[in-house]
Symmetry: C2
């Protein structure tokens, strides 16, 4: 890690720029978080997996809203067509389709009530504030920074394959079917991050713009990390904020 103030502000060639972005991921992506190690290694209780899926649903559910915000700021139809795929991936082309629906199949299989999940009324403040910060970032920053904040998808295919194999091996309450959300994601993430990396490489024309891209990626890593910190404090360490949801066997319940 390095002091952002002391950074060399020379313009980076595309390869060096991409390498710098990957280095940010290597230092900060939430694959490094102890909650993910615990989740993937089979050390989570069922309640912890429920809490993860319940909270993460809110993040998933806000992604198309975030992406619609980005869409409002793209002036070229070709760009909007490309970006629109992200919304289609999450919302589906028809009823019962799409990533959000597939995430609900996961929460269903974990015994969570759909209304409790969809209403988001039991999520942690850490989740809510982090996700709201992400949506607001994409609304208020430059288009370049909004696109850059999606670059965490550069790193998601690796964590997803580790997650699926780890969770299938360790938890008898998950199956390949309940993890269907993740089946489609690596290809989608590859396509999306190819677009985003190409976009930021082309559109960041000054050292300051390149650093704004890096800062946007760091910001997004913070958004993901804080969500796992919240889960760890509340459900692994057992120090939930007042009023937080508590897992109780098969059902969700207000604490």
């Amino acid at each position: 890690m390095h002091d952002p103030v002391a950074l060399d502000r020379s313009f980076l060639a595309p390869d060096a720029f991409a390498a710098e972005l990957r280095r940010i991921g290597a230092d900060r992506y939430h694959s490094l978080h102890r909650f993910h190690r615990r989740l993937h290694d089979g050390q989570c209780t069922r309640g912890e997996v429920q809490a993860w899926a319940l909270n993460r649903y809110y993040y998933q559910s806000m992604i198309p809203i975030k992406d619609a915000t980005v869409l409002t700021r793209m002036i070229e139809p070709a760009q909007r067509r490309e970006w629109r795929k992200r919304i289609e991936d999450h919302d589906g082309l028809r009823e019962g389709d799409g990533g959000i629906e597939r995430w609900l199949r996961l929460t269903d299989s974990l015994g969570l009530h759909r209304d409790d999940v969809v209403s988001a009324r039991f999520i942690l403040p850490a989740t809510r504030f982090a996700v709201e910060a992400y949506v607001e970032f994409c609304r208020s920053k430059t288009l370049l920074e909004a696109v850059a904040s999606s670059l965490t998808e550069l790193f998601s295919p690796a964590i997803i394959s580790e997650r699926v194999s780890g969770m299938l091996a360790h938890y008898d309450f998950v199956s390949r079917d309940t993890l269907a959300y993740f089946t489609a994601r690596p290809d989608q993430a590859k396509r999306d991050s190819d677009f985003a990396l190409d976009f930021v490489t082309r559109e960041a024309r000054t050292p300051d713009q390149q650093h704004a891209v890096m800062d946007a990626l760091r910001f997004k890593c913070d958004v993901l990390w804080l969500q796992l910190d919240g889960l760890w404090t509340a459900y692994v360490e057992g120090a939930p904020p007042p009023g937080a949801w508590q897992p109780t066997g098969n059902q969700t319940q207000a604490a």
Copy 2:
């Protein structure tokens, strides 16, 4: 704690309404957080006190901006005059005056560089996202809810007196002078929370509005709580998010 959905939605008389608000504070105000117990009981390291003051500065510094947001929504000059006092308290009437300046005297005395504090570049994401959520709440919700979210000041005089006596007794690196910020706060908070309680009692004319007030107060308790959760995870438990500031003796330094 109770399920918000199951709440009785009858209209509460002023005394019952005030009692309900105080009960929310008794259940959720950050005086209950283990970080505050640790801070006030003298168990914090100097680095933990530095981290607290550094992060809390960002909250302090955004309060006048939050209050200016509320001011933009008050149509009566008499209300604005009253609310304006909050901004005057924090920003002062002249150079070197005001709560923000007094908070900087605290961070000075703890060996933190002003530029590191004022720039907020070393604060935790938990702090940043919680504070941003607060400002955004006051910008986007109703005036009633914005005013209601300030009602945590009903509970602050008690925690401040406990803080000052506890910190003076336990830390040789703080003095009554460095804690000058807190000297003025209880009277200001009493005046402000009297106004806010009177305002919400008068303006909440339906059960739904009364419950919106209660929800706003719960939200604000979440904002305060998450900031302490962040400090605990990063500096007490020693699991900081990547890139977080680390205390190193007398100086601040990028991690």
